[in-house]
């Protein structure tokens, strides 16, 4: 239990440090308010630009009349200002999306018309490159609207056959494809647009958590330079217990900060973090583990607290910029957005946005698992390096 008392002591010292508290708690809330207000209009503009005309790839495997109504009447004619329809073979559609030559496509299943008329739901597979949230959402909404009204009217007027049901829109549930460059999603997943306040609540929260990790690891390095570290080594505390205590303290601190940011933005600014509380909790925990692991690994390469502070400051800013905390992810090309998932903050921010858009806990499990695995890997390597360093110096 000695590691626990070590964590407790670290938390006590932070809580008593007014300057640190100000940076950890008040600063993020203040920045969220400022950036959320300032960038609000800019984000709206981006959203407007994004819904200007784009190409939708269509593979129509259905021979029935309703698929033609959908593609010709609805997509090509009624939505001609927003959508340009291009027809492809299935393989070609996949290939174009994989190569980013096309961003969104739909595959209309063979029995689309029949299924719709029988009241068995509409079978359409929506494919897009990751994170083209706006375009995918537009197509999704069109398909939902179509499934609710147009087919009934069309069916009545064209084939004069009664249609049962049709109220429930249940598109084909497909998992993620073999290739991660493609995102196949169910159309009935309700993607809710994220507001600027929501975006910056998550973005600033993630950035400040990174800064907390830098501060925590920096304190660890500082303690190693001081006499208290030697004194600790002379007690009954073992070195693995020491490291465990320090890491636990850091994780608890980050979780406390994250909770304050989430609850604070929710209460003060009315930020909606999504419907999945368990998803938010799991993601926050996973991100904190990932970021702390990375912090400990980075700290194991740097000997002095001053050097770590400088490196940490630059590292945090670069990671924050790439991860979308400084400017909205929407302005980056999709491949950049995808690549930045490698960064703990990039992955966390995109997953927070997903949860805010209405994703369920099951949707974020891959991101959760990835973060935890990365965090443990970072920490293990860092621990190994620190142990080697200690053995070289101390008994």
């Amino acid at each position: 239990m000695k590691f626990w008392w070590l964590s407790w002591k670290d938390l006590l010292l932070i809580v008593r440090d007014k300057k640190a508290l100000l940076t950890l708690i008040l600063m993020p809330l203040l920045l969220i308010a400022i950036l959320g207000s300032a960038f609000g209009d800019m984000m709206k503009e981006e959203e407007t630009i994004s819904i200007e005309k784009f190409t939708l790839g269509v593979v129509n495997l259905d021979q029935g009349p309703l698929s033609q109504v959908l593609t010709d009447d609805v997509l090509s004619k009624k939505l001609s200002k927003q959508i340009k329809v291009k027809y492809y073979q299935e393989d070609e559609l996949y290939s174009r999306i994989k190569n980013h030559k096309l961003e969104v496509g739909i595959i209309i299943a063979k029995d689309f018309s029949q299924a719709l008329m029988n009241g068995n739901g509409t079978k359409v597979k929506l494919i897009s490159v990751p994170d083209t949230v706006i375009k995918s959402t537009i197509v999704q909404n069109v398909l939902e609207q179509f499934s609710r009204s147009i087919p009934i009217e069309a069916a009545v007027s064209q084939i004069a056959q009664p249609v049962q049901g049709g109220e429930q829109n249940s598109f084909v549930q497909e998992g993620y494809g073999e290739n991660d460059l493609l995102k196949e999603t169910t159309v009935d997943a309700k993607t809710i647009p994220v507001s600027s306040f929501q975006y910056y609540a998550a973005a600033m929260g993630v950035m400040f958590l990174l800064m907390t990790v830098v501060q925590g690891v920096s304190m660890m390095i500082l303690e190693k330079e001081q006499e208290v570290f030697k004194r600790l080594l002379l007690t009954n505390l073992t070195y693995p217990n020491y490291l465990l205590g320090k890491l636990l303290g850091l994780i608890i601190l980050c979780l406390m900060q994250a909770s304050i940011i989430i609850v604070g933005t929710s209460l003060i600014f009315g930020v909606d973090w999504g419907e999945s509380l368990s998803g938010i909790m799991l993601l926050t925990f996973a991100f904190v583990v990932n970021a702390c692991g990375l912090g400990v690994l980075a700290g194991s390469f740097i000997k002095t607290e001053k050097a770590f502070n400088v490196a940490g400051m630059f590292g945090t800013q670069i990671m924050a910029a790439l991860g979308g905390s400084m400017a909205p992810l929407y302005i980056f090309p999709d491949w950049v957005v995808f690549v930045t998932k490698i960064l703990p903050n990039g992955l966390a921010l995109q997953t927070y946005l997903k949860l805010m858009s209405g994703a369920a806990v099951s949707d974020i499990l891959p991101a959760f698992a990835g973060s935890i695995v990365l965090g443990i890997a970072f920490f293990s390597i860092g621990l190994f390096r620190l142990s080697l360093e200690r053995r070289g110096k101390y008994a």
């Binding site: 080594l233 009954n236 008994a395």
Partner: protein, 314 residues
């Protein structure tokens, strides 16, 4: 069985040899002093004895425990007062003691009882709830000692525990150490203040350039340099003819047991009273004006000076 046995201890940092084959023993209940100037290697020795640094070679045994092989086992019985203040400044004295006690596996009532006892010993019961950052240097040093004795160690190692504090706090610390020793705790006390070591320690080891150049009781060390006192003659610089004075002194002290430095003449002699009047007359005859005369009985400073040719604080 000795409380501590150190045998041929050696420590190198790269090419620099900080400790060069040191051997000594400390008996149970004894108070042993390690005296030497800053940078002599005392702290490095302490760090090895406490099991913090691995020695390059040599052996260290605390009773029957091999400190090098089982440092954690030995550390249970050792209390260390580091040279720097190793405390958390924004925590109170009691909180600090509680934290360090827990690191030594103390808990519950026994921990609280131990904290109360320690606060009484270091004289800070009234200030127990105050944060360490509000304490004077001397008070911080006292808490620093308190954190080392919570677990009632058999061997207390103190590394320059009175550096940079006021005389009142220093006296308090010296009295605390005396008390702990009289209650049966074995003490190793390192310092470059000879008067502290003289006051506290039954046996003394003198360290210089990583070597133990002498050890024994104060009497034994004095005798080792022939129990010589020192006569200090302070002279007016304006009236000094260095060449003339040196010539006269060489005639009077053919064995060259004197030093002429700046405006002071120092002479080593076993019986200074016997030569004092002749010595003063000799100096006056050279036209040199004497401003003061001082006789210093042999002490650790003179032992160190005799052994190394340097003053302790040089």
């Amino acid at each position: 069985m000795s409380m501590l046995t150190v045998q041929d201890l050696q420590k190198s940092f790269g090419k620099f040899e900080a400790v060069k084959g040191v051997s000594f023993t400390v008996e149970k209940g004894e108070s042993f002093g390690l005296l030497g100037p800053n940078g002599a290697g005392k702290s490095t020795m302490i760090n090895m004895i406490t099991g913090l640094y691995p020695p390059t070679s040599g052996e260290i045994h605390m009773k029957d425990i091999d400190v090098i092989k089982s440092p954690k086992q030995a550390q249970k019985w050792i209390g260390v007062v580091p040279q720097e203040i190793a405390l958390y400044q924004s925590m109170s004295a009691r909180e600090n003691l509680r934290f360090w006690g827990r690191m030594y596996d103390l808990s519950g009532n026994s921990l609280e009882k131990s904290i109360d006892q320690v606060l009484e010993i270091i004289g800070l019961t009234e200030r127990a709830k105050d944060k360490v950052e509000t304490f004077s240097g001397g008070m911080k040093r006292r808490v620093n000692i308190g954190a080392a004795i919570l677990h009632k160690p058999e061997l207390l190692i103190m590394d320059e525990p009175t550096v940079g504090i006021d005389p009142q706090s220093r006296n308090h610390i010296l009295e605390t150490v005396k008390r702990l020793n009289s209650e049966g705790m074995t003490i190793i006390y390192t310092s470059h203040y000879m008067e502290e070591v003289e006051y506290l320690c039954e046996r003394i080891g003198i360290v210089d350039y990583g070597q133990l150049i002498a050890s024994g009781t104060l009497r034994e060390l004095r005798e080792s340099i022939g129990d010589h006192s020192r006569i200090f003659l302070t002279i007016e610089k304006d009236h000094l003819s260095e060449e003339k004075l040196t010539k006269s002194l060489l005639g009077f002290f053919p064995e060259k047991n004197f030093e002429l430095q700046d405006h002071q003449v120092m002479v080593f002699h076993k019986e200074p009273q016997l030569i004092l009047s002749d010595f003063i007359q000799l100096v006056t005859q050279t036209g040199t004006k004497i401003t003061s005369v001082n006789i210093v009985e042999p002490n650790l400073e003179s032992v160190f000076l005799h052994l190394t040719g340097r003053k302790l604080r040089d």
